[in-house]
Amino acid sequence: MTYSYHEHISDIGIKAEARDLKSAFNEGASAMLNVMFDLTTIDENEAHEIRAEAPEIETLFVEVLNEVLSIQGLRELAFKRVETTAIEETAEGYRYSGRAFGEKFDRSRHEARTEVKGATYSGLRYNGGTGGVHELECILDV
């Protein structure tokens, strides 16, 4: 399980790799949160439900990242990580459920980096299970 960043002139591209799809979603969320904060400065005092639905795995990834951003902004939180509970197939596509862990944002304790405005459909890619690896990629608008 790992995540990485790629060169991108105005924004930041993220890539998550893991042995299973749920872990790849978790890694993708960590990649995004690590753009916003020094994650080592955040404690896990609160957990928040993350839910999303989309027609495909790729768009589900974008939906989940945007949902994490949205709840974090709404509740004035700093999230440290996301744990995926389930990704289920539905008649319309896929349904995601998971939890994000973190605490109230406190600028005196949390090292804030760059605000992420949103996850985009640019550079969006899912490579499912080739060689036992699930890869998710997208570009964040920062």
Binding site: H8, G13, E63, L69
Partner: protein, 487 residues
């Protein structure tokens, strides 16, 4: 990918209309700046991002596009549309695209004129920097003191800047010198999600982060004395520049409608080359809703810059002893928008939906949208530089109205990625280097400072020169920063 560019003039390059392109692409560039763009297009997708020239060509395939898919001189890859991209669509047969506006709806620049000179500020600039940093909330998740009640947010989205001025934050004349009077019509708060509104309650009057800033600058050089006189500008005069947008509300509208328009693109069978170009017909229910939500986002951003201007006036007054109302508006102009405007196409006046993505409106002389005091020369175009470099005030021209729907650049445009930038510079060292040049930076984030290193951007002087030489804008004045509060 193969992409052909044809030289039209020393400062204009054309991507000829081929295949499914409905119009050609047109890029403002010179020999030296077009070369890396072509190289990037040939090399393919760096990091999954479509090269900027390919994006210009992709936009040229969208239904209802008029004249040409344009890119200003600060062109670089965006998502879907290139940054610096301008595209006009027929208001009946055209489309509206989330990618043509961006997530930071009505990101823009407001400039205030002070009655002070560089010499007045130089001895007190450290205190001034500290006061501005204290008074104007900035950074990730920043919240402000101007709190709204839940019932008031809809009002703010409909009224924009006047809502803030009515509460005593600013002068009524500020509105006259704001694009659209700080209030674009047709905003419908019902088409903005509750979550978008909830995220905004505490963010009115905050800068945000990334490339957003508040700068104290002095006028280093005047190029157009007549326009400078009309704008009330003189050499060495100190001005305040505010660069920010609609904060979380705009981001959430972008997120919400990315999903809505993704479904609409499929529903209406709109042929798009790139998934990010999701769009809806302007006249469809989805398109109308998105436009009304963008208008609400625009009003939110105008209001936000109005609130920040109020805070900046207060901080300035406290440190310098001048009256807050002696700090007057030069202008406030947006650079991430889609708006209905009338332009001449093939000799006929037409109502068009103009997308400007990282591009600034640049209306020239005579347009009714320009405040009467400026109408003889066109409204000021505010082009932001980076922390260590110059910013410019330009003005629009008749040629710009005819050639590029009255548009210009929005800034220098990045040349290095944020990752490359952080690898090359350290925030603390940059602060020292800039301090040695007499520029004081205040920021909550050192990595943010490194990402916005002046060396990571294209040469602003060159970018502006291209637009000036192409004749679509005229240079009026150049400013240098003294203090920068970075988001």
């Amino acid at each position: 990918m193969k992409i052909e560019v044809k030289k039209v003039s020393d400062f204009i390059w054309e991507i000829p209309k081929t295949g499914d392109m409905l119009v050609p692409g047109r890029v403002y560039a010179d020999e030296e700046t077009i070369a890396p763009l072509v190289k990037e297009a040939v090399a393919g997708k760096p990091g999954g991002l479509t090269p900027a020239l390919v994006q210009v060509a992709n936009v040229a395939t969208l239904p209802g596009i008029q004249k040409a898919s344009l890119a200003m001189a600060d062109i670089h890859p965006g998502y879907g549309f290139a940054i610096g991209g301008v595209a006009a669509f027929d208001s009946d047969k055209g489309i509206v695209s989330v990618a043509g506006v961006g997530f930071d709806i009505n990101c823009g620049v407001r400039m205030l004129k002070t009655p002070l000179t560089r010499g007045d500020i130089e001895p007190i600039k450290t205190e001034l920097a500290n006061q501005l940093f204290r008074d104007v909330p900035s950074g990730v998740g920043s919240t402000g003191d101007i709190r709204l009640k839940e019932s008031e947010i809809d009002d703010l989205l409909v009224k924009g800047s006047p809502f803030i001025v009515e509460r005593g934050y600013g002068l009524s004349e500020d509105l006259e010198y704001t694009e659209e009077g700080g209030c674009i019509k047709g905003a419908d708060p019902h088409n903005v999600s509750t979550r978008a509104k909830e995220r905004q309650f505490k963010q009115v009057g905050t800068l945000g982060s990334g490339n957003h800033y508040l700068e104290v600058q002095y006028i280093e050089e005047i190029y157009d004395t007549e326009a400078a006189r009309i704008y009330g500008l003189s050499k060495d005069q100190v001005v305040i520049s505010i660069h920010c947008g609609s904060r979380a509300l705009g981001h959430q509208i972008g997120t919400d409608y990315l999903k809505t328009l993704e479904a609409a693109s499929r529903k209406y069978g709109i042929p798009i080359r790139d998934r990010e170009l999701v769009c809806a017909p302007i006249t469809s229910p989805e398109g109308k809703k998105y436009i009304s939500a963008v208008n609400a986002g625009m009003n939110c951003a105008f209001a936000n810059r109005q609130a920040i201007a109020h805070l900046a006036r207060g901080a300035f007054a406290r440190i310098t002893g001048i009256r807050p109302d002696s700090i007057r508006m030069l202008y406030d102009v947006a650079h991430n928008t889609c708006k209905f405007e009338t332009h001449i196409v093939n000799g006929v006046e037409k109502k068009l939906l103009i997308h400007r993505k990282g591009a600034t409106r640049a209306f020239g002389p005579g347009r009714v949208e320009v405040p009467p005091a400026y109408r003889s020369v066109g409204h000021p175009l505010l082009v932001g530089g980076t922390m260590g470099t110059a910013s410019y005030i330009l003005r629009g021209t008749e040629k710009g109205m005819a050639e590029c729907f009255g548009s210009t650049v929005h800034g220098a445009g990045r040349s290095l990625s944020r990752v490359q930038s952080k690898r090359q510079w350290r925030g603390t060292e940059l602060l020292k280097d800039l301090a040695a040049k007499g520029i004081i930076i205040r920021s909550g984030s050192m990595s943010g400072v490194a990402e916005e290193a002046p060396g990571a951007y294209k040469d602003i002087d060159r970018v502006v020169e291209i637009m000036h030489m192409a004749g679509v804008n005229r240079k009026v004045a150049r400013m240098r920063p003294m203090v920068c509060v970075k988001g």
